[in-house]
């Protein structure tokens, strides 16, 4: 049977319309190429709109001691020195320019008294560093770039008569397959969510900007789009994923009522002075300051409180430790029976700030708790607990170009790319990551297309992709996709969660393999018209690959670091610090192998106090003093 297929030809496909995808598209269009932006939801709705706290860039507007070197050090510390140093370096150096550029496109950040862009404190950042707009910074980012794209389309319209001649947005279209010919990218295949009709894109280069994987877990702050599509598409196209064991559980998600469980409570609440207490009324974070952070964090309430007024002469409150530390601490408190009846702890800003200030600085938090939980945070404490928030692992890329290792023509940026954040991401570093590497991906893809020329898509590749889309309606196995999704979430939640052990991870791997067999029997009711069950059947396939890759990487890494905590290996290991876990896919299963982490070059090595590095590195590494 041959079915009529809609076809498009572009220079570059950008899959994803979050911060990373839109920034890549702007760059590619400005390099003179024709770009298609493809996204699963409406234009302007991508997950990036949910980002609240801010975007980290060492502009030094609030504390002039800040610069890229301080930011770089914070990022490496936050990631526990497992970051790809070059990505962290580029990010720290280029973030200020990426923020200032948004202002030239109409963004309106909050201001300092001098009229510069204001910057706020956040966990793990030595100085106030996050550019912000109240607590809706992600919305500002998305809208600014959405409007930038409209502006470019208006220019194109004036020149060519057609607004979509150089950039076209294909909204509510899911990509199910990356196509390759002769080992190189040749296009992508997918379907319109509205009517299930299939679409072929021919293009020599693809930028993946598909975001995170949160929906693999039961309790998450992510939107439904976080199903790891880009991670899975890349694996299937022959690219690698790096360090998929590292998942960030944000310490403060809502815990009650059940329907809002997981929804994020922004870290700004703590940045603005919110304190964490257990049911005994104890401000417990003082007990959980790890040795590596002792000289930077206050060990008593008096000093912690003074820090809010005098940051130069006091250490910071331990509520602002990196997220992995705070999550583990909350987890321990709850396990020790000092949690609330709903399994959380208390977070309170009402004692430090006036109602008026809270409503002004944290408007959407006030709104969120008032409307969804019936809690007035200007008067009462919030109940919070860890929620799956961000995936540090992702597509293995070349730092300077964002090119996926092993697949010419494929690029990845934003949350779906790996390496930048090491074992734990600092808050605020994602939004600038999107901008820095989105731009670099767009630029490099444009350069590649100009030199690579065009490619052809073969009929057989199209047919195979098409058969996969038709399958859920032709099968009779009777498995319900919603039910399988719930089962997967139970497995990841119970066995691959915040605290992990070998036996549970082994168990998870077996169970995931069994689920994999069952998804081959998914049957979908109804027809192709906007059919969520049909849509979920593809998302599920991706989530299972991600879960497999995460569980298999986690069982191998015998240490605890950042977003990976092993009960059976509770310490950091200097050996494992030098290793990346690399996932690849052989068509049936995910295989994980080890690869040495690139070594810090001397000029970056020398930015650190050797005593600090002693906590992470072996004597041999220290003696070498960097790679050159």
């Amino acid at each position: 049977m041959t079915i009529e297929i809609e076809r498009h030809k572009y220079d570059i496909l950008v899959i994803g319309a979050g911060g990373a995808g839109l920034r890549a598209a702007v760059e590619a269009r400005e390099a003179g190429l024709r770009v298609a932006i493809i996204c699963k939801s409406l234009f302007g709705k991508a997950h990036t709109v949910m980002a609240e706290g801010g975007a980290a860039a060492s502009m030094g507007n609030v504390n002039e001691n800040d610069n890229w070197m301080v930011h770089f050090r914070d990022t490496m510390r936050g990631g526990k020195f497992l970051n790809h140093y070059r990505m962290a370096e580029l990010h720290a150096k280029e973030s200020p320019d990426r923020i200032w550029e948004l202002e030239m496109w109409g963004a309106l950040f909050d201001r300092t008294k001098e009229g510069k862009i204001s910057q706020r404190n956040f966990g793990g950042h030595e100085y106030p560093r996050l550019a912000h707009v109240g607590d809706r910074t992600g919305l500002e980012l998305i809208r600014t770039m959405q409007q930038r794209i409209v502006a470019l389309q208006q220019i194109d319209k004036a020149e060519t008569g057609n607004a979509e001649s150089n950039i076209k947005v294909f909204a509510e279209l899911t990509i199910t397959e990356i196509l390759k010919e002769g080992g190189k990218v040749s296009g992508a295949y997918g379907y319109w969510r509205e009517n299930g009709k299939e679409v072929l894109f021919e293009a020599p280069a693809i930028v993946l900007a598909t975001g995170g994987v949160g929906k693999t877990f039961k309790i998450t702050s992510n939107s439904w789009e976080g199903t790891g599509d880009g991670h899975a598409l890349a694996l299937k196209a022959g690219a690698n994923l790096v360090d998929m064991e590292f998942l960030q559980f944000h310490p403060t998600g809502m815990v009650w009522p059940p329907s809002v469980r997981g929804i994020l409570v922004t870290e700004s609440v703590r940045g603005e002075g919110g304190v964490l207490t257990n049911t005994n009324g104890e401000r417990f974070m003082f007990k959980y300051i790890p040795d590596v952070f002792k000289d930077k964090y206050a060990d008593n309430e008096a000093e912690a409180d003074r820090w809010y007024v005098d940051q130069d002469n006091n250490r910071r409150p331990p509520e602002l430790l990196p997220r992995d530390e705070v999550s583990r601490a909350i987890n321990s408190e709850v396990k020790a029976g000092r949690g609330t009846e709903h399994g959380g702890v208390f977070l309170d800003v009402s004692k430090r700030l006036s109602a008026e200030v809270i409503k002004k600085r944290l408007p959407s938090m006030w709104h969120q708790f008032y409307e969804l939980a019936g809690v007035d945070i200007t008067k009462e404490a919030m109940e919070v607990g860890p929620t799956c928030h961000y995936v540090m692992g992702g597509v293995e890329v070349e730092p300077d170009t964002a090119a996926a290792v092993g697949v010419p023509g494929l690029y990845a940026a934003g949350e779906c790319a790996g390496g930048m954040h090491g074992s734990n991401r600092l808050g605020g570093n994602s939004l600038t990551d999107l901008l820095v590497f989105g731009r670099r991906a767009g630029m490099a893809a444009a350069a590649y297309v100009k030199s690579a020329g065009t490619t052809q898509v073969s009929q057989s590749a199209v047919q195979a992709a098409s058969l996969r889309i038709q399958a859920p309606f032709t099968r009779t196995g009777g498995e319900n996709p919603y039910k399988l999704h719930q089962e997967l979430q139970e497995i990841t939640h119970n066995l691959v969660g915040i605290i992990r052990t070998k036996t549970e991870l082994d168990d998870a791997i077996v169970k995931i393999t069994e689920l994999r067999k069952r998804i081959a029997n998914i049957t979908v009711s109804g027809n192709r018209e906007f059919n969520p069950g049909f849509h979920l059947s593809f998302d599920l396939d991706n989530m299972l690959l991600i879960a497999e890759s995460t569980a298999k990487s986690a069982v191998l890494r015998e240490e605890s670091r950042g977003g990976h905590t092993r009960d059976d290996f509770p310490k950091m290991s200097t050996t494992w610090r030098q290793i990346n876990n690399i996932s690849s896919f052989d068509g049936t299963q995910v295989n994980v192998s080890q690869q040495p982490l690139p070594v810090l070059p001397k000029e970056l090595f020398d930015l650190f106090d050797p005593h600090e590095l002693e906590k992470y590195m072996t004597p041999e590494e220290l003696a070498k003093g960097g790679s050159n």
Partner: protein, 253 residues
């Protein structure tokens, strides 16, 4: 406590449709989107609904609940009296695609018609200095999550397809106001164009748009009325118009 809900959900497509009765369980604290998801998972697997964030931040889950334009993820089930039927229908101002999903492309077309932000020629990144009070007016409008509930409720287009071509709607009046009040924007005549090209004159200030806005943006008081007033002023007083632009440009120096 769990309770049983009687829902009437509109199901259908461009051609035809009808309300379908569904009985579903609702737990404490749940919002309408939660129960729609339960219906989807357990009874009507192919029930079409748009949503993304489930936290009132993306503006995807717009629909009409008992005839009122609302975000399904921010509407508590407990806000309806026990035993009362809840009727859930798609946005009326836009063509249906399927069930609760409508074709909102009208809004994206309107966005394209509004002249973009234009910074001063020669201004370099990092240079702008703006006072917080000066950015706050536009920031209020930039809170918009593009849920299009205001568009849906506005009587000028709600049942008047014929007005759509000449009327941008409240969402885009605040976009114009935002740019007009933006301390760095130098494009002239935004208000006049709003009046002449985007249908501001068709708005008769019923304030329905402000009432439904989940972001509590004061669409009429802070955007529409000031623009209408100043359009009138400027028609009579060209010097004052020039003054306002000069002041605006001084703000950036």
């Amino acid at each position: 406590m769990a309770r049983k809900l009687n829902l009437r959900i509109w199901r259908g497509n461009k051609e035809s449709g009808a309300l379908q009765n569904v009985i579903v369980e609702a737990n404490e604290g749940e919002v309408v989107l939660d129960v729609i998801h339960r219906v989807q998972a357990e009874q009507l697997n192919d029930l079409a609904v748009r949503w993304n964030c489930k936290a009132g931040k993306c503006g995807s889950c717009s629909m009409e609940i008992n005839g009122k334009p609302r975000l399904a993820c921010m509407t508590q089930v407990s806000s309806f009296p026990e035993g009362e039927e809840i009727t859930i229908t798609p946005l009326r101002a836009f063509p249906v695609i399927k069930d609760l999903v409508t074709d909102v492309s009208f809004n994206y077309k309107k966005a394209m018609e509004i002249p973009s932000f234009q910074p001063p020629v020669g201004m370099k990144p990092g240079e702008p200095r703006m006072a917080q009070v000066d950015v706050e007016r536009s920031q209020e409008f930039r809170k918009c999550i593009e849920c299009f509930l205001c568009q849906d409720t506005c009587h000028v287009i709600r049942d008047h397809e014929e007005n759509k071509s000449s009327f941008a709607g409240p969402r885009f009046f605040i976009r114009i106001a935002e740019l007009d009040m933006h301390p760095l924007d130098i494009l002239r005549n935004r208000k006049k164009k709003a009046q002449e090209e985007h249908g501001l004159g068709m708005c008769n200030i019923t304030k329905c748009c402000t009432e439904v806005c989940p972001e509590h943006i004061r669409i009429t008081d802070n955007a529409i009325i000031p623009m209408k007033e100043r359009v009138v002023d400027e028609k009579y007083d060209p010097l004052r118009w020039l003054g306002s632009k000069i002041r605006k440009r001084e703000g950036i120096l």
